[in-house]
Symmetry: C2
Subunit: 321 residues, 2 copies
């Protein structure tokens, strides 16, 4: 196994991120429910990043990336081509730093996401709804405005920032046997894995993914990063393909991987709403869904498990039940 | 104004309740959002009783009533004729005390409520769906089984138990200028008022109610307890008519009263879900709705306001938007 300090993100980077972002993000609460414990036959502790600034863990990585830049480097702003939570997170981080955030969005982006970015002061540039058009326009902005590109997940500072959630969780809940998070681009999972392995060397690190968007799972099994397929899952935050840095770190640190069916994701989401009384987006329910669907194989009976609930930005008019 | 210690519930009763129920209920968190503050132009601190055991503040009053009884008095169990949150709360309290809970429910009660009471070990007795039939069957149970009736709100121990939420809120958020809660039967509002006035003599105590179920508001204005009308509001927890003890205490301690339209209640509920990322039932949204609708008259600009969010038991298949 790769030694921890040979990886591109080290625990010291996560500690530095925690200190850097502290004034700008919330230390989110951890929830626990005996009713959900009984359902799985294990002890579940949910790190509630739905209560994070902008309603998702992405506020952590974006603030770390924006505040780690020198004044000179950041002066002309930052840019990204995400239309999801990272766009709102980068807009907020840039506003807190006092610099512009350029957000490239497809012309068909949902109105709610456009408004959320605008409310936070992000400058939106619309483009054709293809990945190619988005990347081209982002590159143009970087060239024209001198803005710094902050990638949603394939960025070492972003990964270190995301790892701060797990560092807090492990501090708040002593004795965790396992940590579970979902994989989209791999930024959260990579940061989670580094923090968990550094703080609790014997912890089991389990990645989860929708079965309908399992490129990271297949990459992990085959030992090479696959970027095939056009994932279609209700977990809209996890439709991204796996990034290079995330893949390297996951390959070194993951103990296990479990996927969840679409129906299990919807059911788990509903259970979280009904029992924990919190609003989470479908991506947040993937970890619980995968644990429930793979209960026997994972053999977690009686274990104390930390679960990262990633965000709560959901369209209340289009609930999946 | 009536001196505090001439009222049927005193602050010492709330302190005794807090000590008595501590092992059985949660100390719920307080949430705050700059986005909601901006909407009202004041500082709002939400006491989240949706995270309470059984998903509502009712767990407090029920545990206080059940655990205050002597062993001999409680041996044959407790009974009530609520079909809402109090039924679940009493079932849990009785289970924790190791005695039976008899719950009289109308034959047309929603399946979800029946299951929730059953899950908690409550023994359900179905009756015709009229208030008369419910009261008659409860009286019969008391006579036949020797069970002790625990009224949902018109009970001094229940009122004292409900007051513990405000005592915690005032401890957690220093310097509150006002406290706001909704009125159904008046148990929560009465307990809230006693705790608030005892701990912060100058605090403004504001009751709120749906305009479509404003019997308490009219009673307060006219100085006599009205029990007319058959309230029809989306805030199902507040359809009850006002109790005698609740009325006495509210008459002595309230500083103001504000009502909310049905559309404002739905809008406030949606805002709480969307911004605070928590699941609350319509009754929980009445306070925020009334504050927003009566903003100018209440003149709370810049004030620090505590709001009791009463519960989170809502049918996710029948959301009002």
């Amino acid at each position: 196994m790769t030694p921890l300090d040979a990886l591109p993100v080290r625990y010291a980077d996560i500690q530095a991120a925690a200190a850097r972002i502290r004034p700008y993000v919330h230390r989110t609460p951890v929830l626990h429910s005996t009713q959900l414990d009984a359902l799985l036959g294990a002890e579940l502790h949910f790190k509630c990043e739905n209560f994070q600034r902008i309603g998702a863990f992405k506020a952590r990585g974006a603030h770390n990336a924006v505040f780690a830049l020198d004044d000179e480097d950041v002066r002309r702003g930052v840019a990204t081509h995400s239309s999801g939570n990272h766009a709102a997170a980068l807009s907020l981080a840039a506003r807190n730093r006092g610099v512009p955030a350029w957000i490239v969005m497809p012309s068909n982006a949902p109105q709610a996401k456009i408004e959320s970015v605008r409310r936070l002061g992000g400058r939106i540039q619309f483009c054709e709804p293809t990945l190619q058009a988005r990347e081209a326009m982002a590159a143009e902005l970087v060239a024209r405005e001198g803005a710094r590109l902050v990638h949603p997940h394939d960025d070492l500072l972003v990964i270190a920032g995301q790892g701060t959630a797990t560092a807090e969780l492990i501090e708040d809940v002593p004795g965790l046997d396992a940590i579970v998070a979902p994989v989209g681009g791999g930024g959260l999972m990579a940061g989670t894995a580094v923090a968990a392995r550094a703080l609790r060397p014997d912890i089991r690190i389990i990645a989860t993914e929708p079965a309908a968007a399992d490129d990271a799972y297949r990459s992990w099994r085959q030992g090479r990063r696959l970027r095939d397929g056009s994932p279609d899952t209700i977990a809209d935050g996890l439709r991204t393909t796996l990034g290079a840095h995330g893949f390297t770190i996951m390959q070194a640190l993951l103990d296990d991987f479990a996927t969840a069916s679409e129906s299990a994701i919807v059911e788990a989401m509903r259970r979280i709403w009904q029992i924990l009384k919190i609003v989470v987006e479908p991506s947040s329910a993937v970890a619980l869904a995968a644990l429930l669907e793979n209960r026997e194989r994972l053999n977690l009976q009686g274990a104390r498990i930390g679960v990262i609930l990633t965000g709560g930005n959901v369209d209340l008019d289009r609930l999946p039940w």
